[in-house]
Structure formats: C-alpha cells, structure tokens
C-alpha cells in the first residue's frame, strides 16, 4: 500500500495524489455507486411510461365510451398534477393501502390496543420499505406521470397520420388490424418521436427527485459530501462545497441530455426509413 502511494506521488505530485485519494474514498465511492439508482429510475420509468402511454392512448381512442372517459381523465388529471406532488403521493398512498390490507389480516384487537401509534393500526402491519422497494415505487410513479404525457403524444401522433394512407391500405384489402399495425402505428412513430424525446428529457430531470423517497441517490450524496465538516475525526475539514458537487451533477445531466438528443436523431432516421424526404 505504502509503495503504491509513493509511485503515485512521484508520478503526479502530492496535490493531485491527495485529490485522487479524496475523490476515491468510501464516501465518494458510495456517491458514484448511487448513479445506478438514477439510471435505473430513468430506464425503467421510461419503459413503464411507454406502456402506460400506449394503454392511455388506446383508451383515449377507444370506441367504448367508459374506456374513453378513463383515458381522458388519466391524461388530463395526471398531466395537471405537479410531478413532485405525485411523486410524494403515490408511494405513500400505496404503502398505506398495503398496510391497511395487511392490518385487516394480522391485527388483533389486543395488538391494536397495545400500539401507541395512530398508524399503522398494529405493529405487525407496519411495512418499512427498503431502498429497492422505494426505487420500484419511484419507477412506477415516473411511469404513471410521464405515461400521461406519452399517451397524449401518441394519441396526437395517431391522428397525424394522413387519412389517405389508411384509406389506401383499406383499398388494398387489408383488415382493420393490418391497417393498424402495418400502416397506422408504423407511421405514427415518425410523428410521435419529437414529442417522446421531450417527455424523455422531462423524465430524466425528474429522476433528481429520488431523494424525496428516502433513496440515497446522486443528489442526496452530493449534499452529504458537500456539506461542511469541522471534525477531523469525520474526515477532511472543509467549508460548504455543495456548489462543486451540484456543478458535477449539472454536467452529468447535460451530458445525458446531449447523448439522448443524438440517440433520438438516429431513432428518427430509422423510423422514417422508406418514407419520402421532408420538404
């Protein structure tokens, strides 16, 4: 270990070696590892948003009136609720609903009387969520919130496909299902992609809310690492460095959005293949 440090000192000098050491201590490694939460929330949140979006768009375009109403209410309501609020509401409501169901099965009048807390009714019905469970609930919340936007984008894109294309397909003798899958959905993506790219950007930014759900994510660790320390026993003594950690997060998010933009451009070219050039 000692000799290892010495060649490092010789190679890069004392200051840089110190910073390399500081930025790779256990606390920082925890921070780097916490990026997995953000990335997982973005990926699984997006997949669920697409699923909810397709279901919502189908409901909204349904010929069956009650289903159409469900679709419209979902899209209208969830889009109107601030994401932070929904992010706090849904996991809490879900947790308490589970505790309520659990309480009906495991609580006895004695255990309820012995419990001092107002909620859950008895101690056995308490559900303490782990980080992974919170992460799952966060993904579902993101899926529901951005699924509503996705539903609207897809609904609009379905209507943007020129009617003539569909009529021509029918004239060739395609069945309703063939028209839907081969012509309608196939061309829908071209109109949906710009809107979906916007929804993806919003979803990426919403992953910074994970710390609201007790997930020790990149934002939480940045605050912990940057907050001033005055005690040598607790590590390097330094002032308020949160600005530096937050700048690192800015850079991360900007890089992700830049890469996403490039990826969506490629995706758009792929979706347009075989279609006439624009303009």
């Amino acid at each position: 270990m000692e000799s290892e440090a010495f060649w490092l000192y010789d190679l890069v000098g004392e200051d840089i070696a110190f910073w390399i050491g500081y930025l790779t201590n256990g606390k920082h490694l925890n921070w780097y590892a916490s990026f997995r939460f953000t990335i997982m929330a973005a990926v699984f949140g997006a997949i669920l948003a697409l699923v909810f979006g397709l279901l919502g768009a189908m409901a909204k375009a349904s010929r069956f009136a009650p289903l159409r109403a469900v679709g419209s209410v979902y899209v209208g309501m969830v889009r109107g609720i601030p994401d932070v609020l929904f992010f706090l509401f849904f996991p809490l409501a879900f947790e308490q609903a589970v505790e309520w169901v659990l309480a009906m099965q495991v609580c006895t009048p004695e255990s309820i009387a012995a419990t001092q807390a107002k909620w859950p009714p008895c101690r056995e019905a308490n559900w303490l969520l782990t980080t992974n469970q919170y992460l799952i609930l966060a993904c579902v919340s993101l899926g529901i919130i951005y699924g509503a936007f996705t539903a609207n984008v897809i609904h609009g894109a379905m209507r943007a496909v020129p009617k003539g294309q569909l009529e021509a397909a029918r004239a060739y003798g395609m069945s309703d299902f063939q028209v839907l899958t081969r012509i309608h959905v196939r061309q829908m993506w071209v109109y949906a992609l710009p809107g979906l790219s916007n929804v993806w950007m919003l979803l990426i930014k919403a992953t910074s809310l994970l710390s609201l759900l007790q997930v020790a994510d990149i934002v939480w660790w940045a605050g912990q690492l940057g907050s001033p320390n005055f005690l040598p026993q607790a590590g390097l003594v330094h002032g308020d460095w949160r600005w530096a950690y937050y700048i690192a997060l800015f850079v991360f998010y900007i890089l992700v959005t830049l890469l996403s933009e490039k990826a969506f451009n490629r995706l758009n070219l792929w979706a347009r293949r075989g279609m006439p050039e624009e303009g």
């Binding site: 495991v106 001092q116 559900w127 469970q133 907050s227 320390n229 607790a234």
Partner: protein, 250 residues
Amino acid sequence: MKKALIAAAALAALTSAAHAQDTLRVGTEGAYAPWNFVNDSGELAGYEIDLANALCEHTGMTCEIVQNDWDSIIPNLVAGNYDVIMAGMSITDERLETINFTQDYFPVDPSKYIVTAGTEVDFDNMSGMRIGVQGNTIQAAFVEENFADGNTVVSFATFDQSIADLAAGNVDVVLADGSSLEPVVENSGGALEFVGEDVAVGGGVGGGVRKEDTELLATLDEALTALKADGTVDALRAEWFDGVEAAYTE
C-alpha cells in the same frame, strides 16, 4: 405483482416480530458529528454508534443501525421502523409525552452561542438578530421562547447547515449543543468563536424508545448501568469528545 408485494411485506413483518428480541434496530441521524455521522469510508461512525454496538454486545442482541432524517425521527420510531433512537437527543418533558427515554448516556450538555469572530451580541436587549438553530431541537424551543420577539429565528434541517450559514453570514448567531460546537470552533482557525454564557436546557442525552416497549427499556437501562459501572461509557465519551470529564465513574 401487488399480491406478491403484500405477501412479501407480511412475511417481513412476521419475521421481524419473531426476532424482535434478537435484533436491536437503532435509528440515528448520521449528520451530527461527533455523535453520529457518515465517515470518509462511507460508514456510520461516532460516539452513539460505538455505544450502540457496546449495548448490543452486552445484551447479546444484533445491532442494525438505520439512518433517518432528524425531522421524522420520532414519528418513525413510533411507527415501528426502528426500536431505539440514539441521535444525540436530549431528554425533555415535551418528548416524554410521546416516547420514553433510557437513563442518560451523556450528562446535561450546556448549549452555547457561536458567532463569527468579533461579533458582539447584547443578550439582554437582543433585537434585529438572525438566530440560527436546528429545527425541532431544545435550542429551537429555547430561542423561540426567549428571543422570537424582535429577532428572526432561522431553522435548519441539519446542524452542519446552520454552521455553514453562520460562516457565510446568513445568520448572526447560532445556538447549539456545546459538545458539537467545540470541534467547530477549534477547527475554524479563529473564524468562529463562542459568545455569551452557556445555556442549560434539556436533561442529558438518552435513547428514545416507544412507550409500549417497557421490556426493551428495562433491558437497555440495565445494560447502560453495567456499561457505566465498568467504565465503557466514559471511555467512549473520552474517545469522541475532547476534554470531557468522566461523569459515570469515580
């Protein structure tokens, strides 16, 4: 999916109930050096972490330390997320209405005022001052009661944040536990200093347990008595707090 989740939760609840005697879940803030904090290795450390482990060793239980924000630390104890709070919490009458406390494991710790060097504070006619405290603490209650008229009380979520804002000039004076402020003043290189007289509030620091857990309370009290008698508690205090005197051994 939902059924599986419910079943998993039920299983978790049942197993945790069955092992309630074997495992001691300790709730702590993890942001209050040197009492409890996350060290550079990314692990929880501090006086109360060492003390919790000593308690577990003495009673033969397995310690599981849970980090929880200060603001919700009492509600989450009552809800059953952990069994005992060890988070530098002073024993007060107000808190005793909601939870029980073990005997203290740190005697009354006088609160102190800290300012940026050279700031004068006239404690008899304080007015127009911005006073920083950590929210939901004995100091917050004290300041609200004594200085709320004519001054602005600024409440912070963590202790560190109150000091950072003092250093940045966002508040004029901070009132906090002397034991946490000592290393701050010592390591500030003269930038921060104590002012005025110490304030005696609170009644020592103890572990908070649910009111219905009388058995656990008795076990912890018994263990604390033993660890005080054999000098463990004072040794840990000396290790984590510079210059404190032995309080529980002669």
